[in-house]
């Protein structure tokens, strides 16, 4: 579904952020991208939707070649890729509803978006999504009035209302407490399953990644050094990705207590 072929990014400073990365993700697969800071995780997902322009290589989403698209074609392709950010990246002075509906900007015309007159189907879908993440009553609050976990759930709604085929998720839990982190990861994975979405999730927390994903990619200095199942992450592999440390505690199987109901309850 997403295929990267020798994708390379060299920044103007000469830093090689990505070195000819090859990667193929089948439909509906949720994948975690791990690696130390500066390994190129953010660059990789930003090269897919071209918030960062790749220097070389190709990327296909289905049968659309992304790297050569015109501005117009790129806008259309971006609609199929929802993005979820570290620090949420909600537009703080807009309301929750405006933030969610901004996910439809690729579909509606300028005047409609300027006057906030969205098609009823979009508005209904926004309400449905907010209800799904338990924030329906917050629709008219300003985004900066929300807590971290709530903001990230709005960020998830904004990505999903695009009706994407792929989610690009950049450190979704980096600024959340451990419990909220799990809830957010669980929510993302559940929603991907419900809608059959593929996802690339950049994540620092190795244990959290192991709990939720089907496949783990390890990135180091812009190159893939590990590609396998979460249970194959041994101390040796982690040493290869991150460097020497005592990894036993990190990959100890974390007990997954039953708090499934909490996301909906809050």
């Amino acid at each position: 579904m997403l295929r990267l072929e020798k994708l390379t990014k060299t920044y103007k400073t000469g830093d090689k952020a990505l070195k000819a990365v090859d990667l193929e993700i089948p439909e509906g697969q949720v994948l975690a991208l791990i690696g130390p800071s500066g390994a190129g995780k953010s660059t990789l997902i930003r090269c897919v939707n071209r918030l960062v322009e790749p220097t070389e290589g190709k990327a296909w989403l289905g049968d659309v070649e992304l790297t050569t698209l015109s501005q117009r074609g790129l806008r259309k392709a971006r609609r199929r890729m929802g993005m979820i950010f570290q620090e949420y990246a909600l537009v703080e002075r807009l309301t929750v509803m405006e933030n969610v509906l901004s996910g439809r900007l690729g579909y509606v015309g300028f005047w409609r978006s300027l006057l906030r007159r969205y098609p009823q189907a979009d508005v209904d879908e926004a309400f449905r999504l907010l209800d799904r993440v338990g924030l329906l009553h917050m629709a008219d609050k300003r985004a900066d009035e929300l807590s971290g976990g709530q903001r990230q759930r709005v960020g998830i709604c904004r990505a999903l209302i695009q009706d994407p085929a792929l989610l690009l998720v950049d450190e979704p839990t980096a600024s959340l407490d451990p419990k909220t982190s799990r809830q957010i990861m669980r929510l993302i994975v559940e929603l991907c399953k419900e809608r059959g979405l593929a996802a690339i999730i950049n994540i620092h927390d190795v244990a959290l990644a192991q709990m939720f994903v089907q496949r783990v990619i390890g990135l180091e200095l812009g190159a893939i050094v590990f590609d396998g199942k979460p249970e194959d992450l041994t101390p040796d592999v982690l040493t290869q990705i991150y460097g020497e440390e005592d990894w036993e505690a990190t990959i100890k199987k974390v007990e997954d207590e039953d708090d499934t109901g909490e996301v909906a309850a809050q």
Binding site: N49, L51, L74, R75, K76, A77, R78, R79, M81, M83, F85, E87, A89, L90, V91, E92, R93, L94, E98, S102, G103, R104, L105, G106, Y107, F110, S113, L114, G155, R158, Q162, L168
Partner: protein
């Protein structure tokens, strides 16, 4: 145990030397002789420059009477003997202020967007920064003299002067606010497939709107005060009336005009406080 303690002792040798020592923030200029030379030079220059300002004490003594008469006039301002002139001048000034502010602000917004390096391509940026630089380099009075020469006496020249000055002021500050906005919020909007205009409307505008409104209110305030000055060079407004009053030594009328200007500026200040509190 002993070796461990020895090890600690050894590695902390440097610390032992430093304990009990006074600590001061390092000076900006390290070398004392250079620092003191610079200070001495600065003070010498200051004394020398004050000595070159000539004061004609007998002239000052004569002038005190006139100054005192002017101050006294504030106790008996005369709003009525030139009432219709004052009224006409005020109306003209307010019209100039509002018209020039609206036109200036509307033109400033696109130029401000263009002058923000993080959203405009380099050629557009250079052009917009050029416009801003020209507008800011030319002081209002100079522009007004030029425009009076072109369009003749009257409020048209004043209106154009203030619009021109507003562009330089507002575009520059708006551009700087855009440059310091949160990039990620705007990036998130772009990632949804938004067009450029939609991106500006959703990703940029909400971030800079409070500042834009605050600056606009402030500029209206400045424009009104400037409109009182522009009359001095024949560009219309209350300044013309004020100038005439001074020329005729009608200090009570002049005082009335100044009081009105102060009241209006205070009212604008109050209004802008309310507006800014609401949009934050």
């Amino acid at each position: 145990m002993t070796t461990f303690a020895d090890g600690v002792l050894h590695t902390h040798r440097e610390l032992d030397d430093m304990l009990g020592q006074r600590w001061r923030k390092p000076r900006l200029i390290r070398r004392p002789w250079l620092r003191w030379t610079l200070w001495a030079g600065f003070i010498a220059y200051l004394i020398a420059s004050y000595m070159t300002v000539e004061v004609n004490w007998s002239r000052v003594y004569e002038g005190l009477d006139r100054g005192w008469a002017f101050v006294l006039a504030f106790t008996s301002p005369d709003f009525f003997s030139r009432g219709s002139d004052i009224w006409d001048g005020m109306v003209e000034s307010l019209i100039m202020t509002v018209a020039a502010s609206v036109v200036g602000i509307l033109i400033s917004i696109p130029i401000g967007l263009g002058a923000a390096r993080n959203i405009a391509p380099l050629p557009v940026y250079m052009i917009c920064r050029g416009i801003v630089a020209v507008s800011r380099a030319l002081q209002e009075i100079i522009v007004a003299i030029l425009l009076v020469a072109i369009f003749g006496f009257g409020p048209l020249a004043g209106f154009l002067t203030l619009s021109f000055a507003t562009i330089g002021f507002l575009s520059k500050l708006l551009a700087e606010d855009i440059e310091s906005m949160d990039r990620v919020q705007a990036e998130a909007v772009r990632a949804s497939g938004a067009s450029w205009l939609q991106w500006v409307n959703y990703g940029v505008q909400p971030q800079v709107m409070p500042r834009l409104i605050g600056l606009s209110m402030y500029r209206i305030d400045i424009n009104f005060r400037e409109s009182a000055i522009l009359g001095l060079v024949g560009a219309g407004g209350i300044g013309a009336t004020l100038n005439t009053a001074f020329d005729r030594y009608e200090y009570d009328t002049a005082a009335a005009i100044l009081i009105l200007i102060i009241v209006i500026v205070m009212a604008l200040e109050y209004l802008s406080g309310i507006v800014r509190a609401r949009v934050q």
